[in-house]
């Protein structure tokens, strides 16, 4: 049997396990999580093909899975009437004293890294800040920064196409733009709690 066939058999067994778990589970929320587990198996089957084309197919599969998961979780929230904003989940002393310095360190390090990974690091810094300090007024700033980042990115593209001689300038613009963009996206993770700002 080819390696592909062998691993495909293993994945089919994993699929069977996921489906049996889904059939046995009675709690709606747990079923939602288990469907995600089953979804990952589909991605594993695609990934098994191990070609560039298959890798390109994983991303749309992932997007479909995530969008379905989000739609279903929203249906679950409405169905169960879960509308109240949760109380603060966790509060420890370090969250009062440390956020400023940690967030600043992460954001500066992110700017030094620049680009996609820099955006992720800086976004983590902002995320930590919002987590500790609340996030009632910050959304507008993030939206503005995200819009400017997009404009920077488009300008950089135009420079690449129209005046390729200034590629370094365009790279800097695009790097800064994507830093802002990823930072803004990362900073939004987990802050959407259905409060009055959303």
């Amino acid at each position: 049997m080819s390696p592909y066939g062998t691993v495909l058999a293993v994945v089919l067994v994993a699929m069977a396990i996921a489906f049996v778990a889904l059939v046995r589970e009675r709690d709606d929320l747990h079923r939602l999580l288990l469907t995600d587990l089953a979804e990952i198996v589909a991605l594993a089957i695609i990934a098994l093909v191990a070609t560039d084309l298959a890798e390109a197919l994983i991303l749309p599969g992932l997007v479909v899975g995530i969008s379905e998961l989000m739609a279903l979780s929203e249906v679950y929230l409405v169905k169960e009437g879960l509308r109240s904003v949760p109380e603060r989940l966790m509060h420890i002393e370090v969250m009062d004293s440390a956020p400023a310095i940690l967030a600043v360190a992460l954001v500066i390090y992110g700017i030094v890294l620049s680009g996609f990974s820099g955006g992720a690091v800086a976004g983590c810094g902002l995320l930590f800040w919002f987590f500790c300090k609340g996030h009632d007024e910050a959304f507008e700033i993030i939206e503005t920064a995200s819009g400017y980042a997009w404009a920077l990115w488009i300008v950089a593209f135009f420079v690449f196409m129209i005046a390729p001689a200034y590629w370094l300038f365009a790279v800097m613009l695009a790097g800064g733009g994507i830093l802002l963009k990823v930072m803004a996206k990362m900073a939004l993770v987990g802050t959407m709690r259905g409060g009055r700002d959303v």
Binding site: L22, A38, E39, V41, I45, L53, L57, V75
Partner: protein, 218 residues
């Protein structure tokens, strides 16, 4: 076309690189149906169901809130567009993606009605539709792995696609097109929502007809 009995004459082929969307008599007919119902969803106003009080002569019509109407119409149009894509796509992975998009928009049409019973049915259907992406994408991946291409144009008549992949595709489409059964369960046809609910039936019917064509062709 393809020298196979199912397609009929070739009407048109639209090439995007090696992805060829094709209109044969078969897929062209499906396309025309989907287009007709999409236009219907765009132009028609929702009906107002009438409730009659049993044992008396009182009756009243249900009012449909404007935001509900807008959302359902949007979802119905999106569902129609996804169906248009699914019935003419010449690429198996694109077909699966359009299929799951039909699944998502069907959830949207059902879940727009803020009624616990209806939402419960939408949730259960959503679980089925989500799980169905496993065989759907799995089938497409096995087609790619065993033949090296996803183009129906290239695969037609070669009988190179393994039976497992075909079974997976049909299973996946069954899961994605399962919505009408849950509609029956939710009795959404009695909730304010017609005619947009029609789009659910049309899309799943056309999706089934298309997957039959694909399985017989490749």
């Amino acid at each position: 076309m393809f020298d196979l009995p199912i397609e009929g004459a070739q009407l048109m082929a639209v090439e995007f690189g090696d992805i060829v969307a094709y209109f044969s008599v078969y897929t062209g007919t499906l396309f025309a149906f989907a287009l007709l119902f999409t236009v219907l969803a765009i132009v028609s106003l929702p009906e107002r169901p009438m409730d009659i009080v049993f044992g008396g002569d009182a009756y009243y019509t249900k009012e449909i809130p404007l935001d509900l109407l807008r959302f359902q119409r949007f979802m119905a149009i999106a569902c129609g567009l996804a169906t248009l894509g699914a019935v003419v796509s010449g690429d198996i992975f694109n077909f699966t993606l359009f299929g799951s998009m039909i699944g998502i928009t069907n959830i949207g049409i059902v879940a727009a009605v803020k009624n616990r019973h209806v939402l419960e049915a939408a949730y259960q259907y959503g679980i089925v539709a989500m799980v169905a992406t496993v065989p759907l994408f799995g089938g497409a991946a096995i087609v790619l792995a065993s033949t090296g291409t996803l183009s129906i144009w290239a695969l037609a008549g070669a009988a190179a696609v393994p039976l497992l992949a075909k079974i997976f595709l049909v299973l996946g489409v069954m899961g994605e097109g399962m919505a009408p059964f849950y509609i029956g369960k939710a009795e959404i046809t009695r909730a304010p929502g017609a005619p947009y609910v029609l789009m659910i039936h049309v899309s799943s019917l056309l999706l089934f007809l298309r997957v039959v064509e694909i399985v017989l062709t490749v």
